[in-house]
């Protein structure tokens, strides 16, 4: 049992109360001696699931994601995992928030990688769950690489990426005959310079989706205009997609920066640029299928 106390220091510092909570959870546990034995017997390493939770609606979890949530000994989640999904975490196992909302200090990526490795090495089955899809601006590759390098068994469970979920819930198809023959997902992450070939992006018949683009709305608008896109190219800003408080703001490429400010758009938000945004009007069903409002039985 002492193994749990050997958790690295950053871990105690950042994940408040972890060691004791964990001990409690496990000692009431299922007698899996292989894991609990600190007296010299070899501990078999646990397994890690790198899980995409989708954009927010708990019903957009995959069956496999739900299985991972229910099979884990410990869960690590970040801020994009919605409250509705967190409510599905089993009550008898510990779950920890590991970042990262802007400005809120949380574990650095390297430490997080190390945390996952060390937890698995303690013999715990770890569910590492993140918003959207782990392989789309999710840094899932980095976590997976650390795990594989340490010889830990790890599975990746894809999730509905926010571009797909949010656009669907806003009645906007990402591709559509005659309007868009493809789509590109771009990060507007403020940490680095936008290393994007803008002229290449400013292309007709193509949909652009910017993740983390709120603080870059100016840049996005100016550079796409300079790249040749029309000022009235339709734009949708989707805030809190696939959640009860989803907000869709329809704008144009030239109005985008002003609209972001005027509407006080909050993170998480996506920016969709392209003619497909015009489909929204045509695709809105006057009567929603009643199942749409139905609550999922198990939620």
């Amino acid at each position: 049992m002492n193994n749990f106390l050997k958790a690295p220091d950053f871990f105690k510092a950042n994940v408040e109360g972890l060691p004791s909570t964990m001990l409690k959870a496990r000692s009431g546990g299922d007698g899996q001696a292989k894991k609990m034995d600190g007296q010299g017997k070899k501990i078999r390493a646990g397994k890690v699931w790198l899980v995409g939770a989708g954009p927010g609606d708990a019903e957009l979890l995959t069956l496999k994601a739900l299985r991972a949530i229910n099979s884990a000994d410990v869960i690590f989640y970040d801020y994009l995992v919605s409250a509705e999904i967190r409510a599905l975490f089993p009550k008898n196992i510990p779950s920890f928030y590991v970042g990262k909302a802007k400005n809120k200090h949380s574990i650095a990526q390297e430490n997080l990688n190390q945390l996952l490795v060390s937890q698995a090495q303690l013999g715990l089955n770890v569910c590492r769950i993140k918003g959207g899809d782990p392989f789309v601006f999710g840094r899932g590759g980095e976590e997976l690489l650390a795990l594989r390098t340490a010889g830990i068994d790890a599975d990746v469970i894809p999730g509905i990426t926010s571009a797909s979920g949010c656009s669907t819930y806003a009645d906007i198809p990402l591709t559509h005959r005659g309007l868009s023959q493809g789509c590109t997902f771009v990060t507007g992450h403020a940490e680095k310079n936008l290393d994007v070939n803008w002229d290449a992006l400013a292309q007709l018949k193509h949909t652009l989706v910017f993740y983390m683009g709120l603080t870059r709305a100016n840049d996005i608008s100016a550079k796409l205009l300079a790249g040749g896109l029309a000022a009235d190219t339709p734009v949708a800003i989707i805030e809190n997609g696939c959640r009860k408080d989803q907000r869709n703001i329809i704008s144009t490429l030239s109005e985008l920066p002003a609209d972001v400010i005027r509407e006080q758009v909050q993170s998480p938000a996506l920016i969709i640029v392209g003619e497909v945004v015009r489909m929204k009007e045509k695709l809105q069903s006057t009567v929603k299928a009643h199942a749409a409002e139905a609550h999922y039985l198990l939620a």
């Binding site: 995409g52 989708g54 019903e59 995959t62 069956l63 496999k64 739900l66 299985r67 229910n70 089993p90 009550k91 899809d133 782990p134 392989f135 789309v136 601006f137 999710g138 840094r139 899932g140 590759g141 997976l144 690489l145 594989r148 068994d153 990746v156 469970i157 894809p158 509905i160 990426t161 797909s164 979920g165 669907t168 009645d171 906007i172 990402l174 591709t175 005959r177 023959q181 789509c183 590109t184 997902f185 771009v186 936008l194 290393d195 070939n197 290449a200 992006l201 292309q203 497909v276 489909m279 045509k282 695709l283 069903s285 299928a289 009643h290 199942a291 749409a292 609550h295 039985l297 198990l298």
Partner: protein, 461 residues
């Protein structure tokens, strides 16, 4: 299926329980809960078990078992730790054709008892046919956490309304729809939150309401994901379970179709290359027609309906006709295949963006602008078959993408037949030529493919 599952009505019926210890007491508790009248036989009988017998208006025999104890019994349970005795009870009962269970001895049983989740009147039984009782118990534990305790309440209230709803809807179809509306809508929420009066009022109002909403059909446009049925979303699964008719195409895997409601009508609408089962316009119209007949229509598509799925076209017509519909996003092939091949679509060091394109060069709609695709920090995902692969690679190179850019061709991604072929822009056509590759395939181009070697994890049988 080795056993036929049933729920027995034991109310006031005589059941023989041989044994008086802990195990017998546990069995006695369950029998008593089901209203059985207990006949307990054992030299020593626990106090609790005695109590249960009294409450169940049963009888106690504090002695050894004898064959005549089976008389008038509809069910027998042997819970003694004497093997020879258990064998005798089993043999006696079988001679009389009385179902018998011997605790922990499947070979002596003519029936076995499942793990139970009791939300009476809702009861769920789980069995592994005696092969893996621990697994069955684990499944039970999971179900226990998934199904709120208040479901019992829901079932109780439902039973109070049963007769009225039955007389209100003489047609079985509209009755079922009404129930589904009640059990999945706000009424259920109210019941489970303990607001019984409000729930009852809601149902009352609904019953008084015009019936037309219920007989009106609707359409669910659902992404079925890339192949692995476990990549279905919870909502997709729920709608698959309540559809009357399903339209599906070749990209929906058999394993996914398995999960569609058994008695739903299935309509295959294509499309394999060269096998135009149904024109897109006809599919659009069929959805409208079926919904107008009052059916709940599931349009199931591989991957995501709004990413190269022509989903927009299908619902455009629905919207014009005022047919209620909803769209459920699915895991698109790029996400699914990338995850299962261990290839991140974006990566800090290798790709700041990812672009999905369709590779059907011949279709008049597609007109790839090559210079844009040459950007080395962008991952490209081609949703395409093998036709045109060589041409695409050559064009990319001609427009400046390095010939050594690593590429992956993923065949039947996320399924048990998944195969990942790794090469570079220059060599992939050759690699494909010597491998017998089949649809569906997805083509990923970019430096992220380098990671495949260290990240691959998915094993096929």
């Amino acid at each position: 299926m080795d056993y036929f599952p049933v729920f027995l009505d034991l109310k006031k019926r005589r059941c023989l329980l041989v044994g008086g210890g802990d195990v017998a007491t546990r069995k006695g508790r369950l029998l008593a809960k089901a209203g059985a009248s207990l006949r307990v036989v054992a030299p020593e009988i626990s106090t609790e078990l005695r109590g249960l017998v009294i409450v169940s208006k049963g009888e106690i025999f504090e002695r050894e078992y004898q064959a005549s104890d089976l008389q008038d019994c509809v069910l027998a349970i042997a819970a003694t730790d004497i093997e020879s005795l258990n064998e005798k009870i089993s043999a006696d009962a079988q001679t009389l054709h009385i179902p018998v269970n011997v605790v922990d001895s499947p070979a002596l049983c003519t029936y076995i008892t499942p793990a139970i989740i009791d939300r009476s009147p809702l009861v769920i039984a789980v069995s592994s046919g005696g092969e893996a009782p621990v697994l069955a118990r684990l499944v039970r534990a999971k179900l226990e956490t998934l199904i709120p305790a208040s479901y019992g309440k829901l079932a109780q209230i439902a039973s109070q309304w049963r007769e009225r709803i039955k007389t209100r809807f003489d047609n079985g179809d509209s009755r079922r729809k009404f129930w589904e509306k009640i059990l999945q809508g706000p009424a259920a929420e109210l019941m489970m939150n303990g607001q019984e009066d409000a729930a009852n009022k809601f149902i009352d109002d609904e019953l008084a309401n015009d019936q037309s909403q219920l007989t009106k059909g609707e359409v669910y446009l659902v992404g079925g994901g890339p192949g692995d049925p476990e990549l279905l979303t919870l909502r997709a699964l729920r709608l698959m379970q309540q559809a009357d008719v399903v339209l599906y195409d070749r990209l929906v895997s058999d394993a996914v179709m398995e999960l569609v409601r058994r008695d739903a009508e299935r309509i295959y609408v294509g499309k394999r290359r060269n096998e135009h089962a149904m024109e897109q316009e006809n599919i659009n119209q069929l959805l409208v027609d079926l919904a107008k007949q009052g059916k709940r229509v599931l349009r199931l598509k591989g991957g995501d309906p709004f990413i190269f799925g022509r989903g927009g076209e299908e619902i455009e017509l629905l919207a014009q006709n005022d047919i209620p519909f909803q769209v459920v996003p699915g895991i698109t092939a790029a996400s699914g295949c990338a995850a299962y091949a261990g290839i991140p679509l974006t990566h800090r060091d290798y790709a700041q963006s990812v672009r999905f394109v369709t590779g059907h060069l011949k279709s008049d709609d597609t007109n790839l602008s090559w210079p844009e695709l040459a950007n080395p920090t962008q991952t490209l995902v081609f949703y395409m078959g093998l036709v045109g692969l060589k041409e695409i690679c050559e064009s990319l190179i001609a427009h400046g993408r390095a010939a050594t850019t690593p590429v992956a061709l993923i065949e039947k991604g996320t399924t048990q037949d998944q195969r990942v072929l790794i090469a570079d822009l220059n060599t992939i056509a050759g690699v494909v030529a010597v491998n017998d590759v089949h649809a569906p395939t997805l083509f990923i181009v970019g430096d992220v493919v380098k990671l495949h070697d260290s990240l691959k994890w998915f094993k096929t049988n």
